[in-house]
């Protein structure tokens, strides 16, 4: 090995790039060549000076605060847009609920006229639905936006949305009214009860 090759190998060795075999050849050469030995010692010294110097520096005081103060302020709108971009499923869900609730609200507000499930023998007077005396209504009875007066009998469930079960002709009759229903009786006045009822309807029919 000549001195030029040796010097090249020194750098490879310092970079951790020399094989064991090459390292051995280098050691042998350095042993025999004082100039290269000197050269290698100087390189080693340079290395240790530089690596020592790497730990001497630290950023000026309050560096972090100063950076944080200079960061651009986030615009709210930008923040929302990024949120929508990064959460497509939630965005879709939010849009869905927005449409659903607007349609539900308009339905709740507009549905002022009385409606009743179609059964024979019922009398509808303005907002009052009457089951006349001596009449038996077969099947489930649903009254929406109106009151119900049962003078006869209902053979099934009764549901009143946004209305009352009238007491008919006095308290006695009222007691009788509840007895005249063979199925369950349900009165729904609250928004969410109403909503729930309609959702159940939608899924069962």
């Amino acid at each position: 090995m000549n001195c030029e090759e040796s010097q090249k190998l020194m750098h490879q060795y310092l970079d951790g790039d020399a094989s064991e075999e090459e390292a051995q050849l280098l050691r042998e050469h350095l042993h025999a060549c004082p100039d290269c030995q000197q050269h290698y010692q100087e390189l080693k010294q340079t290395e240790s000076l530089l690596s020592g110097a790497a730990y001497e520096l630290s950023a000026p005081a309050a560096f972090t605060d100063s950076v944080m103060a200079k960061l651009p302020k986030e615009k709210k709108r930008v923040g929302y847009m990024r949120w929508f971009r990064t959460h497509p499923v939630l965005t879709a869900a939010a849009v869905f609920f927005l449409f659903m609730f607007t349609s539900v609200f308009s339905a709740w507000n507009n549905d002022a006229s009385v409606s009743v499930s179609k059964q024979e023998g019922l009398i509808v007077e303005n907002d009052l639905v009457i089951v006349p005396e001596g009449v038996t209504v077969e099947g489930d009875l649903v009254v929406e936006n109106g009151d119900l007066d049962i003078r006869g009998e209902v053979d099934g469930d009764v549901t009143i949305l946004n209305g009352d079960l009238l007491k008919g002709a006095g308290a006695e009759a009222n007691m009788a009214a509840a007895d005249n229903i063979t199925g369950e009786y349900q009165e729904i006045d609250q928004m969410f009860g109403w909503l729930w009822f309609h959702m159940k309807q939608a899924f069962t029919f």
């Binding site: 750098h11 790039d17 100087e42 110097a53 630290s58 950023a59 000026p60 972090t64 950076v67 944080m68």
Partner: protein, 187 residues
Amino acid sequence: MENIIKHHIKNVKKGDQAAFEEIVSFYQNKVYHIVFRMIGDTYEAQDIAQEAFIRAYTNIHSFDENRKFSTWLYRIATNLSIDRLRKKKPDYHLDAEVKGTEGLDMYSQLAADQALPEEEVQNMELQSNIHKEILSLPPKYRGVIVLRFLDDLSLAEIGEILDLPLGTVKTRIHRGRELLRKKLRHV
């Protein structure tokens, strides 16, 4: 540590500005180190190091989380430093002298304040000399030498930061080390 940093980066991407503070505070010394060694002047180095973090923040969405954040950040810092050096190239040699003394000022200010023992004063002079000699290297060798001794970066990472092939990184380290050997052998 890398995992904690990744967690903070996710939060920054979600718009949590405060999470970026942790990142700055963790990397500030290293970024400042790179820039100060490249540029020489403490005020200018502080300015560019801050700019590097601000760029990292504003471009955080282009950072690929599968890669190493430090590599990406150091790349921003070295690119900004190299740009600055290019702009002031004409008076570069005159500047280098002035810069060196500013580095010295920093150490001598400290020394005056705290009346340090002789040993430490000598160390500061030594550090100041090393700083001056690194600055006297042509910038292309300076970059690899500065990164080589920072943070145990591998040669491959240095290549990635400076956008250089591995062979070029090695050649530049060898040349830079030879140049410094001649300058530092009598220290």
